[in-house]
């Protein structure tokens, strides 16, 4: 059945059916699109999703609160720290826990690094798909540096499980600070070079301007958020609209585009990396002293030394590890600005050890449904570019 937004197929024409995916080297993930082609023009597209569906909402109903953080890692795995922090903040909102400033600033640094790594992937891949392999190979080493910082803070690289309910699991070590300072020196140089390589490149501009455009109005109707919405000219950013984690302390701009095409989506992400750098600089400069976690013994694991020497700490340790914390009843919605848009957590607690219902608002899932409309009447090669510029992450799409 044709979707309402698609043109009716002419009965006296013969169309070719083309399966784009599920595994296709240029879709960077498992996506299937059944395309009806008139020569090289797409006249109808039907996406199939769900190839890596892992039922996170169901699993979350059977896990204690602190064991849900590793599930969120695996949604948008290009910026998993943002997902982790979003989940921790949701629970903190539910239990009414005030996190110290230092912990919030440390979180902001980690989240902005995650945003940069997410945007590095998207922008370099747009370059890669237009044939500019150099940028991809050259700029990608910066993501490696970010992963090394994660590694220093939490021990993991991709699925980080960083932070805890109530703060961070540990303060940044000496090495972590050194690596961060080194990154802050190196990264702008790389970003500038990458920008110079691609931004005004005639071939790149011809290829991406007017490729897969969407108007601001349609983007809002389709529930777009994040860089893709801002590329269409709507300046909605959760960090500004409803500041969380002390984002109100920092000064930064929200870059917006005008046409909502691939070039604008690319440029918005490039500019956001500069803004992220600005935020991290301010966070480093203004880093307050103090504790890196709140005093919530019911949720935050005590020091190992105390566990061995103090009765109370041992009890809390046992309760947290076995997932027997007392959680208040209630329902909360909390959203953070993820790499791709508003990542929301709608949590209903009935006072038991695991959530009664946990719903993830996954930005990819919501905006990917506009994909058929964006690629019909365009070329097949433009469809590939549109997909990479939307930065559809399979893990977030399917949850």
């Amino acid at each position: 059945m044709a979707l309402p937004n698609q043109i009716p197929l002419s009965p006296d024409k013969e169309y070719n059916t083309l399966n784009l995916g599920p595994t296709h080297p240029a879709t960077h993930g498992i996506f299937q699109n059944v395309l009806k082609m008139d020569g090289e023009i797409i006249v109808h597209a039907e996406p199939t999703i769900g190839y890596i569906h892992r039922a996170f909402e169901k699993i979350a109903e059977h896990k204690p609160y602190n064991q849900i953080a590793p599930l969120t890692d695996r949604m948008n795995y290009c910026s998993s720290p943002i997902n982790n922090m979003g989940w921790h903040m949701t629970v903190e909102k539910l239990i009414g826990c005030q996190v110290p400033k230092r912990a919030e600033y440390l979180r902001v640094i980690i989240m902005e690094l995650a945003r940069i790594s997410d945007h590095i992937i998207c922008t370099t891949i747009i370059g890669q798909d237009t044939g500019a392999t150099t940028g991809f190979l050259y700029f990608f080493q910066m993501r490696e540096k970010i992963y090394e910082i994660y590694e220093e803070v939490c021990g993991a690289r991709l699925t980080t499980n960083i932070g805890r309910i109530g703060g961070m699991e540990r303060d940044f070590s000496e090495t972590a600070w050194n690596k961060l300072h080194k990154f802050m020196e190196e990264f702008p140089v790389y970003l500038k070079e990458f920008q110079a390589l691609i931004e005004r490149n005639r071939i790149f501009m011809d290829r991406t301007i007017n490729c897969g455009p969407i108007s601001g109005e349609r983007a809002l109707a389709y529930g777009f958020t994040g860089p893709n919405l801002r590329a269409a000219g709507v300046d909605y950013d959760v960090r500004v609209a409803s500041p969380y984690c002390s984002y109100q302390d920092f000064e930064f701009d929200i870059p917006v585009g005008t046409n909502g095409d691939t070039y604008d989506r690319f440029m918005v992400r490039i500019q956001e990396m500069w803004e992220s750098i600005r935020i991290i600089r301010q966070a480093i400069d203004k880093m307050p002293a103090g504790d890196f976690h709140a005093e919530v013994p019911e949720f935050y694991l005590p020091d190992k030394e105390d566990v061995y020497s103090k009765m109370e700490a041992l009890i809390y340790h046992f309760k947290i590890v076995m997932g027997e914390m007392d959680v208040p009843k209630g329902e909360v919605y909390h959203s953070v600005e993820g790499g791709n848009g508003e990542l929301g957590f709608y949590l209903i607690s009935d006072g038991n050890r695991s959530p009664f219902r946990l719903h993830f608002r996954r930005p990819c899932f919501i905006y990917y449904q506009a994909f058929p409309e964006m690629i019909t009447n365009g070329l097949l090669s433009d469809a590939i570019l549109t997909m990479s510029s939307l930065n559809v992450i399979a893990g977030e799409l399917d949850a």
């Binding site: 039922a55 909402e57 529930g223 719903h359 608002r361 899932f365 919501i366």
Partner: protein, 167 residues
């Protein structure tokens, strides 16, 4: 935030009188429970009224509460007024046998996949939806896995026999 609750509930009461069943705050969110049969009218009013202007559908999700007799199933809509940056939550409830819900795709194309997802997991029949099929699970599936009566793991599996851990 309580101002918003008052303001919206006054307007809804004025327009739908008995249709608004409950208005309360949950943390920082005003929540409105309305009757199922008028849900599309309520959403249309909330979206198109120039004063309220909740023009953005943030998310939509289903609920299953087997303990809540007579109103086991629910659908929750999160709406956002992007201009004034106000958010509200609208809920409807229905008994288990009556899963027909009018579709919100007439207001927001974004509701298309959200409703398909809730159909897939809870079995809501969104009447008027252009293409109501399963979306994340396989088409052959004959149950709705997010309902509470379905266990996390498939009970028919016999390759997992670790009694030690009390499965």
């Amino acid at each position: 935030m309580t101002d918003l609750l008052h303001h919206v509930s006054e307007k809804l009461k004025g327009k739908f009188s008995e249709g608004l069943l409950k208005a309360e705050m949950h943390y920082d969110f005003p929540v409105f429970i309305v009757e199922k049969k008028i849900i599309i009218d309520v959403l249309t009013y909330l979206k198109n009224d120039p004063d309220l202007d909740f023009n953005f559908l943030t998310t939509l999700c289903g609920l299953h509460m087997p303990e809540n007799k007579g109103a086991e199933l629910g659908v929750v809509y999160h709406l956002h007024n992007l201009k004034k940056n106000q958010r509200i939550r609208v809920k409807i409830f229905m008994p288990d046998g009556d899963t027909k819900v009018p579709t919100a795709t007439v207001l927001w194309p974004a509701a298309d996949w959200m409703e398909r997802q809730e159909y897939d997991f809870f079995g809501f029949e969104f009447t008027g939806h252009p293409d109501l099929r399963r979306i994340l699970n396989m088409d052959e599936m004959n149950y709705f896995p997010m309902r509470k009566e379905y266990p996390l793991e498939d009970g028919s599996r016999d390759d997992k026999n670790d009694k030690m851990f009390g499965r």
